[in-house]
Each structure stands twice: as C-alpha cells, then as structure tokens.
Amino acid sequence: MFNENINITDYCSKRERLPLVPKISPNWITADYLGSVKCRISNSFRMKYKVAPGLYSLGEPDENSDVFASANYKLSFDILRKALNGLSAWILVLDTKGINVWCAAGKGTFGTAELVKRINKVKLTNVVNHMRIIVPQLGAVGINADEVRKQTGFKVYFGPVYAKDIKNYIEAGKRKTPEMRKIEFSTLNRLILTPMEIIPAIKKFFIFAIVVLLFFGLQPAGVIFKNAWVSGAPFLLFGLISIIGGAFITPVLLPFIPFRSFAIKGWIIGIISVAFILFFLNLHGQKNGLIRSVDFLFFPMASSYLALQFTGSTTFTNMSGVKKELKIALPIYLISVAISIILLVIYKLHKLAVI
C-alpha cells in the first residue's frame, strides 16, 4: 500500500519548492479568439489585454523542462501557449505593461532588468535544475544575454522569431534555421494592421468634415446647410479617399508601389486616387481652377502623411530613415496646407463677390 521508494523529505521539500504555479492549457477558448480580433481594432481594449506576470506551467513540466519567457500582453502569451501544444514547459511571463515582446523590448520593459527580477522573484532555480531560458529572438532588442548570465546564472537562448517555429527549434536541439530568424511582413500581416491606421484617421476626418462643411456653408446670412453639403461633399469624398489611399491601399500594396520612401508611396496612391475620382465622377464645383488645385495639392499630401504613419507598424523601417523623411516631408506638408487654405480663402472671397 505504501510506496517506500518515495523519499518523504524530498517529496515534501519539493511540494514546498513549487508554490502555486498556475496550470494553463494550450487550447484557446472562444474568448481568446474574440480577444485576438478585438485587440487589433480597439486601442483601449488592447492596452488592457494582459495576463498576470509570473510563472505558469503548461502540460506536465518537471525540473528538466524548458522555460520560455514571454510578455504579459495576453495575445503574445496566448500565441506562445498555443504553439507549445503537446510540449510540457514553464512559461515565465514578464511584466511588460501589457505590451508585446518586440515593442516592450524596444522600450526596455521586456528587458534585462525585468527578466533578472522575474527569475529571482519566482525562484526559478528552485523550479528547474538546469540554467537555460528561451527568450523570443525579438526580445534581444531589450535583453542582454551576457548580463542575464552574469546576474542570474541563466543562459539565454534566443529562440525563433515566431512561436510557430518553437517545436522545430526544440526538435533541432535549439538550433535555428536562417528562416526562423527572419521577420516576415506579408500582405496578410499588413492587412491586419490597417484598422489601427484607419480608425485614428477617421477620428481626425470628423474634425476635417466639420471645418469643410462650415467653410462651404458660410454665407453672409449664416451657415447655409444646402451650400455646405453640395459644395463640401466632394471634399469629404476626397478626404475619405485619402484615408483609404494612405492608411489602407499604401500599407497593403506596399512592396508594389515604386520608391522606398513611405511619404512618396502615399503621395502616389493619393494623386492616382484623386485623378481617378475626378475623371470618373462629375463632382459639383470641381471644374473651378482653385478648387481643383486644392484637390491635387491637399489630398495626395494627406494620403502621404497617413502612409508615413505606417512606418511605425512595419518591420523594416528605421528611425534614421523616418527622421530623414520627416525632415523633408513636414515642411512640404505645412506649406501645402497653408497654400490650400489661401486658395480656398481666395475662392470663397470670389464666390461672395468680395473680389
């Protein structure tokens, strides 16, 4: 009845050594799927989409099982646990304030200090009898492997960029193929990112719409709604077109649009869109030279500005380059806006028969 082979002291000390490590499943439930979509759409939701930092166990890990470090952005954590399906492992979640591994590493929250602190806090040396920890490769932006080893004794293995490659990486004896090191930026990746470009732009569009309607509606007698709508509608359409051009078409077609500069890419899409609309739609008031100049000056530039914003979501642009682009583009943007306003004021004064 009694198993004499169990060393009671060992057994008890082990129980004590392993305090409550939450067990997690590799399977996603409906809420996980819904959350993965929602955090691509809503900023406020994403910023609160977190798991508690600390140690988690997946499968039936023991003291020889691998330890994987992750961020406490729930989507990062979910993708990792899903990818580890079938394996028994420990997951060490760092407190990255709910930000994904790469961004958090860039800001230093997924960093050497936090990793060292978390290793000590969960007493990782009591949980495993090896000194290895697997960190996502993109975490290397914030984690100095040499420093972690000096401070904790743990040797950092920079794993693959993508969680989906983890199983192959482990099977190959923690060896990465060149493909496992590379970051992708497929059309689908870019498409997924566009809602976060479009939604903030739409918010600005409402302010733009109010200004446009007031401008066209303004008469000596007050704001005339009919004038506002009839003359303002084409501008609202162009506004929407530049959002679609800069925040959707440019990101999705990115590699197929000529030039490396995002500002130029966005401008090209913007000017094509404006020309296309003017050619195919007979819009009210657009035959006026002043208005037409504004169409071609302002809207492609708005599209260019939005396209430039997308640099923050890409996986290959660099800060020096974006600064270089901004240095040239910002003055052009400001001058274009100023000229557009002057042209519109002249147009308005002309309409009101002042000049």
Binding site: S44, I143, T311, F316, N318
Partner: protein, 97 residues
C-alpha cells in the same frame, strides 16, 4: 522590402569583432553574414535599427542609433524636445507600435 538607401546608423567595427556570431543570431533581417570566416555587414539598408546586435555584442563592435521608428513618435519627440516616444506605458489611450 528595403527602406531608404544609406539611412541606417549601423556601425560595425571589424577589428573589435571576435566572430561570436551573436549578431547573426539576433538580427531579424540578415544584415550580418559570415564571409571568408569573418562576420560582415551584408546590406546596411536592411537594418531597422532595433539595436539587438549592439546590445548583445560583448565586444563593443557594433553601434546603432536605435529608437522608436514611427512617424507620430518622432513628431511627438520633436514637439516635446525629447526622445521619440509613442507613450505606450503612461497613457491608456495612446497608440502604440
């Protein structure tokens, strides 16, 4: 996909390199490669200035001016006079990379 020509601030000092290969291991864009048994920068235009190589190079052979690469972050930095920042940590409504 490549970004602007000759814009990356990556600087590699061959003399300090010991060919430990950590840079090749952490770079997500294959900027480095072994040529004639020595680590070399293959294409600087591929560099996105993430800084992983410079942080993990024990021998100080790599330097790169890394930071937030998003336009709104850089504009924020220009306006506030500080470093580019998209303020993910402090504000719950702020956009983030």
């Amino acid at each position: 996909m490549k970004y602007l020509k000759n814009s990356a601030s990556l600087n590699f000092i061959t003399e300090k390199c010991t060919n430990c290969l950590i840079c090749i291991d952490v770079c997500p864009h294959e900027v480095f490669a072994v040529k004639n048994k020595k680590v070399r920068v293959v294409d600087k235009d591929l560099c996105m200035e993430c800084g992983a190589c410079a942080l993990n190079c024990k021998y100080g052979a790599i330097s790169v001016n890394s930071g937030v690469g998003c336009a709104s972050g850089i504009i924020n930095g220009m306006l506030s006079g500080g470093a580019p920042s998209c303020d993910c940590g402090s504000s719950s409504s702020a956009e983030c990379c």
